[in-house]
Symmetry: C2
Subunit: 237 residues, 2 copies
């Protein structure tokens, strides 16, 4: 009776949070991995002693974080399957927080510069043939691009290959998210520049530095490139 003074930040375990914890335990305990299936929603609800809607909310959280994907129907591919899409989650995260002005464009662009410099230096230290080959392909595709949107798509592929060349999946996910968040801005930037020759020169310089194993030159080329692409680091706002 005297327990009336409950405020937020007290401990209040909601049912779906309990479900979340139990599913996470189960993943760890059973050593589940990408491709494995979770029990059906109804079965899970019965096992955990909660309603199906609570199970669904928990699954929605896991889907948002990119660890499960649900598929209706019947068969091996149906149900809630463990996946690995951290990039999608990061993309949503950035987009929403940019929309709320919680993060400014300047912060996102600065972060991107940091990451890509590091990735370039790292890639130069241990160049991976497949990744550098994809970088070259992207450069060629940009040469052939007919409009800014197409150019930007291949530009994204270039920077993604750069991140992959660094051999760190977390970095790849972050770069993908940053580029998705900046996609519209990037198209505008290309339109504003008009001539993409300078950008392409940068791309070629980055690519060459990585193939030559010159980490310092690679990082410097990336810095120069992003400074050209985002001259003032955005209008903040």
């Amino acid at each position: 009776m005297t327990t009336g003074e409950r405020r937020r930040t007290d401990a209040r375990p909601r049912a779906f949070e309990e479900v979340l914890a139990r599913i996470e335990e189960r993943i760890a305990a059973d050593g589940l991995t990408v491709g494995d299936r979770l029990p059906g929603e109804r079965q899970l609800a019965e096992q955990l002693g909660v309603g199906r809607s609570s199970v669904r909310e928990a699954l929605r959280v896991l889907e948002t974080l990119g660890v499960v994907a649900s598929q209706a129907g019947r068969g091996p591919d149906a149900g809630a399957v463990l996946t690995s899409r951290p990039g999608d989650a990061l993309t949503d995260l950035l987009r929403l927080h940019l929309g709320l002005a919680t993060l400014s464009m300047r912060e996102v662009i600065d972060t991107r510069l940091m990451i890509e410099q590091w990735a370039a230096a790292r890639a130069a230290a241990a160049p991976a043939r497949t990744a550098t080959a994809r970088m070259a392909e992207a450069i060629a595709a940009m040469d052939a691009a007919r409009d800014p949107a197409e150019f930007v798509e291949h530009d994204i592929a270039f920077h993604l290959a750069l991140a992959e060349a660094a051999g760190n999946r977390l970095i790849v996910a972050v770069v993908r998210a940053l580029r998705d968040a900046l996609r519209r801005y990037a198209v505008d930037a290309v339109v504003r520049l008009g001539d993409t020759g300078g950008l392409q020169d940068d791309h070629r310089r980055i690519h060459r530095a990585i193939e030559d194993g010159d980490a310092g030159a690679a990082a410097a080329a990336v810095a120069e490139h992003l400074a050209r692409a985002y001259p003032e680091s955005g209008p903040d706002s």
Copy 2:
């Protein structure tokens, strides 16, 4: 009464995704920001022509991404309020993907090194008094710490202050998430080291370099520090 006409023409956007899109539009259109309230769940459901459960799933997604927080009851603080907690979302993301072996400890540690080096250099370029003061406080607290867990807590505060000194909220969120993900590992590392004198020397060196405005020395000190804390950067797996 919306059950009369269902268009099954295209690939189906799920109802809660539609709700998500509409809420996002509304945030942008009305210029909503942190602290503003969304309509109640029942009201939203009626406005958007969907069931309350679909609204709830959408809100769960937004909560997962750290943009809303729900509070029951009545009054100005009740309901779904826009917030800004990107760090929590990142923490969940890392923890789950580490559990799924989608990301390795090595990748997380490498990422952390990159970010903190950058943050230290950045902080040295424009030292903020409040942040450097908090770094000094954290160092003193670590001197007084009586057990590894307590030491690690203040160590987290130190590295968080370092990130904040760089003046980039996205970086702060990422550092927080990385440290949370590595918290257990960090305690083990402190126990293994036994003597924290070397770590504290590092902290003091980082702090001094930032106050002196020596970006190069700050970055180098951070690199040395993390190399000491994570000697082998984990077995990759």
